[in-house]
Subunit: 211 residues, 2 copies
Amino acid sequence: MATATEGRRGRRSGPSTTREDILRAARHQFAEAGYDQATVRGIARAAGVDPSLVIQQFGSKADLFETVVSEFAEIATERIASLPSMSGTLGERLARSYFSVWEEPDARSRVMAIFRSVGSSDIAVNTMVSTFVFRVWPLMRHELGRDDVDGAMAQIASVLIGTAMTRYILDLPFTPRTVDELVATMAPVIDGIVARWMVPGAAGSAEAMPT
Amino acid sequence: MATATEGRRGRRSGPSTTREDILRAARHQFAEAGYDQATVRGIARAAGVDPSLVIQQFGSKADLFETVVSEFAEIATERIASLPSMSGTLGERLARSYFSVWEEPDARSRVMAIFRSVGSSDIAVNTMVSTFVFRVWPLMRHELGRDDVDGAMAQIASVLIGTAMTRYILDLPFTPRTVDELVATMAPVIDGIVARWMVPGAAGSAEAMPT
């Protein structure tokens, strides 16, 4: 707070703190309002700095958004990398690590920004897709011990993205509220997808599955 | 097209056609750009009418959006009502009726608008939630022959919403492309949710499920 106030007065003694203040304000605004409705002016005001400083440090609103949503890739990679040290089925470990992010207020604001903006921002779409394909899936292939599991991982991504949408954006009634409840209901769904995919002959091909 | 041109010239002989032209343009703009980026001016231009006519016929941009997304409730209700006449498991019938909507260009533009806007528009969120709770779920309770299935229906909603997000908004690689492939991969997921929910003692309570 003291640093934010100094920021208004002119030369900052701690530029890295100011940078963090701007990032925190940006995360919050993008998470609350989505990409379109957030403004550099509003972010600067919340960070207690001049809008020109936001532009100077991060470039345009699009560049700032890109920095914020890149945190999604970091968090996702870090959590997936921790799966081998957890206990339980793959579905339980994946659901627990994923929903824990959403239930930690600081982590949630980092992922909410991208989820709220996928409908209107190509940056959000591209970042989410590349995070899954280039960061999450290689680790998951290793975890599953197979290379031909992209279809299963796309289905699992659908389930995880959809549950976050219903729980945190739609707030749909009867959606589980706690991490434990979310794990209890969604882990069997994920484990079912993996099990069906591991059936000989089914891998890599939806047509090979019974209709 | 002739009607759209007439619209620019002044008094219209077919006001209901003009209304449909405006609605079609609005659906398209909201579906392509989402609520925030669509404009009354852009919609009027695409419909070949004066912006004042859009306001006169529909009120504000928010009112027009409300009219467009209310079509989601109509389509959802109509498709769910047709489930009893279809063959296959509940998962197969539900997945086929849902993904068929997305694969029909006209129907897709009617549902895309709401999916693209849930991150930034309360109207989209409220319409989607009330459609599920007040229109879809009563029919599904009847279909399942039980009243205590709200938790299962919330989970199924997560899966269907998530699959539409990954397939039609993210265009995530390895997501099934055709209705048949979407049904083949997602029907077993839905049937698994229903089967787990129907286990005695599990209904209505996530905690009652094995963790």
